[in-house]
């Protein structure tokens, strides 16, 4: 069950304009709207509370104190914030020396178990989160934005600078990879 409010959208614009002019209440409203979302996005990517908190704080500070860098050229404020979070995550990986992620599609995976017996319902949340972190960079991003952040394919397309069709294809491949990965794990 999600704890977030309504999905981010175009109605951020008046708040962004007010915050740009120095209105602290507007900045606070944007902060309240995005901090938990960004924390959850980063936590799903990294899996470490301390790192996720640091990167979420960094993302919100960068975005709300540098609204002068936000160019409203058809890109929603929410997309900009998610892009900053994504870039911060990539930078974190780079600093940690984590360069590439395992490409599950071509990997030597165990033969798929009978899907009817896979019982994803019985998988723990942590097992599922860990399996997601083994997906490719792009697949992780799409899965987290679509299913953890409840964003539409169109919103994910804007954040990732891809077409809606490409996002849907990535989502399909990600779920198929995840299914194969989970089939090789014991159910706790």
């Amino acid at each position: 069950m999600r704890v977030f409010g309504k999905a981010p959208g175009d109605d951020d614009r008046p708040l962004v304009e007010r915050a740009r002019r120095g209105d602290q209440d507007a900045a606070r409203a944007l902060f309240e709207r995005y901090f938990d979302r960004i924390y959850n996005y980063v936590y799903a990517r990294l899996g470490r509370v301390e790192d996720a908190e640091d990167l979420a704080i960094d993302t919100m500070t960068r975005s709300l104190t540098r609204l002068d860098l936000f160019q409203d050229q058809g890109v929603a404020f929410s997309s900009w914030v998610y892009r900053i979070a994504h870039n911060a995550t990539i930078d974190h990986y780079r600093r940690q020396g984590k360069v590439t992620l395992v490409q599950l599609e071509g990997a030597n995976l165990p033969p798929s178990a009978d899907p009817s017996e896979m019982a994803v319902e019985r998988m723990s949340n942590e097992d599922l989160r860990a399996a997601i972190r083994e997906l490719t960079e792009e697949q992780q991003q799409v899965v987290i934005l679509r299913f953890f952040q409840d964003l539409t394919a169109a919103q994910v397309a804007e954040i990732t600078s891809k077409s809606v069709g490409a996002v849907q294809a990535l989502q399909h491949r990600a779920l198929a990879s995840l299914e194969r990965s989970l089939a090789g794990r014991p159910v706790n």
Binding site: M1, R2, V3, F4, A19, G22, Q24, A27, R28, F31, F35, D36, Y39, N40, Y43, V49, A52, E53, A56, I57, M60, T61, R62, S63, L64, T65, R66, D68, L69, F70, Q71, Q73, V75, W80, R83, I84, N87, A88, D91, D114, P115, S116, M118, V120, E121, M123, N125, L128, R129, V143, R146, F147, F148, D150, H172, L175, A176, L178, E179, L182
Partner: protein, 248 residues
């Protein structure tokens, strides 16, 4: 056998059911404190306010004070300011006064930081062209600083080690700032310019880390040597004297 679409839809539903992990209240408070502190000192606005105040004061001053006022305004001016060329002249004079290798090294590091601040301000004003030029200036200053480290290495490895450490710290600080900017700009030209600047800064570090040439007569880093060795040496590499400032 369940069809694939149904299986994947079931998996998707399971993912949607994963509970979100809330951040700790302490993290949220810390985050808002940092955001709030940043909002109270927005980048660029204080500099603009200062410049405006200086301009008004300059208008009220007597003609004799105009030159001094222009110089003062130029010191903090940005590439889109009319005073910016004056800033270049002041910087070149400062370069001439930096006589020792150590002073010249500090001079180049200081200018590199200035160019980076200018680039940041230009990005915030969406002047990517001027930001790109400022970044090119930063790269040039870092390369000049690295060249000094390399030359000093021949005569005084201990001092060179200290300078190399200072250069490394400066490049790391600049790289962090550039990484932050890179995450914020959306213009592809701006992203490319920042990527290039980060790479060139790393190249400067590599240049400083390269072994000394040990050419005969190339180890003089004294004031007299640098004062007579303006520009580039015969091999085309930057000399230890202040390089002509590209920006301004």
């Amino acid at each position: 056998m369940i069809p694939e679409n149904q299986r994947l839809e079931r998996l998707a539903e399971r993912l949607r059911a994963i509970e979100s992990a809330p951040p700790s209240p302490a993290a949220k408070i810390r985050a808002w404190n940092l955001v709030s502190a940043g909002l109270q000192t927005p980048v660029g606005s204080s500099a603009r306010r200062r410049s405006a105040v200086r301009l008004v004061a300059g208008g009220l001053a007597a003609v004799a004070l105009l030159v001094a006022g222009a110089v003062a305004a130029a010191a903090d001016s940005l590439p889109d300011s009319a005073f910016y060329p004056v800033k270049g002249t002041i910087e070149n004079l400062q370069g001439v006064l930096a006589l020792t290798a150590s002073d010249q090294f500090k001079y180049h590091l200081s200018l590199a930081a200035t160019r980076l601040r200018e680039a940041d301000a230009m990005f915030s004003r969406h002047r990517v062209d001027l930001a790109d030029r400022a970044l090119a200036g930063m790269e040039e200053q870092l390369t000049s600083a690295a060249a000094i480290v390399k030359v000093v290495k021949e005569s005084d490895p201990a001092v060179a080690g200290s300078l190399a450490g200072q250069l490394k710290n400066a490049v790391e600080t600049h790289d962090n700032q550039l990484a932050g900017l890179q995450g914020q700009v959306t213009n592809p030209t701006a992203v490319d310019a920042i990527t290039k600047a980060r790479n060139r800064a790393q190249e400067a570090l590599q240049l400083a880390a390269a072994p000394a040439d040990n050419k005969p007569g190339n180890g003089n880093t004294s004031a007299s040597a640098s004062a007579t060795d303006q520009g580039q040496d015969s091999s085309g590499s930057p000399s230890i004297s202040p390089a002509p400032s590209r920006n301004p």
